[in-house]
Amino acid sequence: MFRLILRRLAISVAVLWLVTLLVFVATLLLPGDPARAILGQQATPERIAALNDQLGLDAPVWQRYLDWLGGVVTGDLGTSAASQGPVTELLGGRIGASLVLLVGAAVISTVLGLALGTWSALRRGRAVDHTVSGLSLVVAALPEFVIGVALIVVLSTTVLPVLPSVTLAPPGEPVWSRPSQLVLPILALTLVVTPYITRMMRATMSEVLDSGYVEMARLKGLPERVVITRHAVPHAIGPVAQVIAIQLAWLAGGVVVVEFLFRYPGIGQALIDAVNNRDVEVVQAITLLIAAVYIVVNLIADIVGIMTNPKLRAEVAR
């Protein structure tokens, strides 16, 4: 098993390295003169020369890559062209703010998805099951911003104006000091991923409930509650854990749209600003960061998969 996990770890590191290469190569796509593209047509030759120097654009490509990679590894993500400050400073507080959203949505959607999936598997073919399946199919189709706008319409403007639709974040005050403004963004993200967890949990639980050991447990005369909680659910968790992890990785992308919609001061909003300003080093830093989160979460998912899969455990014992 350990060899399998180590192999998986090595693949992740290699993929991460290739991702840095890709993120760097993307900057070579900047049309013509990157410094002019960033600064605009009115830029003076001195400013262009200064930016060329700052970005190290006069050096050969491979050296620029190594310099940039060296910076990334040592925690120096470069300088923001828009704010003229270091990128790390720009991102510092925003990473925390985004994590609040991600963790909040992850916890709620996991609990909700597992509960709904189990419930609907236990009532297979009945009205509850059809309702849950139908709803999850509909909600799963909706893009993040459609869900977000619908929430704003219902809970913040027309029907029930109870929650703020825009995040107010005075400098120096963390976003979570006003919990009510976290509700809608977290709810939007939760609605995006819960349907998938629900559907997977329902499918897996249905299989488990039809299995021999659940029938055996019932035949032994165990109370239904014990059959479900002690015999059925633990077997369903393994495969579902992987789907949950994939959904959480998905959140890392969905957070961009949701933060923009609610003007939430996280890294997603920073990414949109940076793309609009052609703030290349910030775009590089954030895409790399999101890709890294994505890779790590998928890695954890696979490790959980390896550890909970008896077939793979046995394979290693061989």
Binding site: I11, V23, P31, V146, A150, V153, W250, G253, V256, V275
Partner: protein
Amino acid sequence: MTATTTQSTLLRRAWALPQAKIGLALTVVVVGVAVLGPWVGPWLTGHDTTSFAGKPFQSGGIAGTDGLGRDVFTRFLSGGLTLLIYAVLATALGLVLGAVLGMLAGYSGGWLDSLIMRGSDVLLSFPQLVFALLAIAMIGPEGWLLVLVIGITHAPRVARVARQATVAVKDADFIRAARMYAMPRRRILLREVLPNITGPLMVELGLRLTYSIGYVASLSFLGLGIQPPTADWGLMINENRIALVVEPWGVLLPVLAIAVLTVGTNLITDSLASAAAGTSQSGKPQTAKEASA
């Protein structure tokens, strides 16, 4: 087993499911609006998509005016076509690219397989939207770039499915026979393998179309997709959301259209997936992101 029979039984089985009919009805309504709207709109309301129709955010006409005094209903009717064209092109690109790479990887095995699949692992480590943003940051919000980038990010996800399906059939007798006749690889893939993996590919087609619509609309909503002054649903939501309380139609109409369209295509996809799962041995129906991420 020939191509036409596999495909028609799959479609017939899918059509027997209620969600297929509902999904198709929803999709047809929105596609109808999107395709006919640009011609009907000016004739119906008497306004152009970019012409001045009245004071900003007034409720005259069917759905009022937007922040620049343009007629919201006219813009709504014209706002779906570009989105739809981009989404269809991106889906087609992703599906063709992914199917070719996946079949090549699955059929050839060896170093080509490793190269293609490791290459797609790299692309798979970006959320699709973030990868698109990276490209847009460098080149700018061009139409061809949206199609290209969304298509490219679909490709590895389609390739995974195509590869798996190809591996399952590549040692079947009829393919061995074709190999024995020294049929060239390109012909085996096109004539023998492709017709036998249409089931999973059809499901991918529906899934990728649903996502393409979502991504193009999301990028336009972020102000980084289709650019003003074009009338576009995603962009309209961005432009009109500041006046949601005063003049909600500029947001509600496009949101509804996108929601109905994506729900429609997803229902069709679900019926295809159920039908395909019924025909193959591998029981469990797959849902959207389980297969994609």
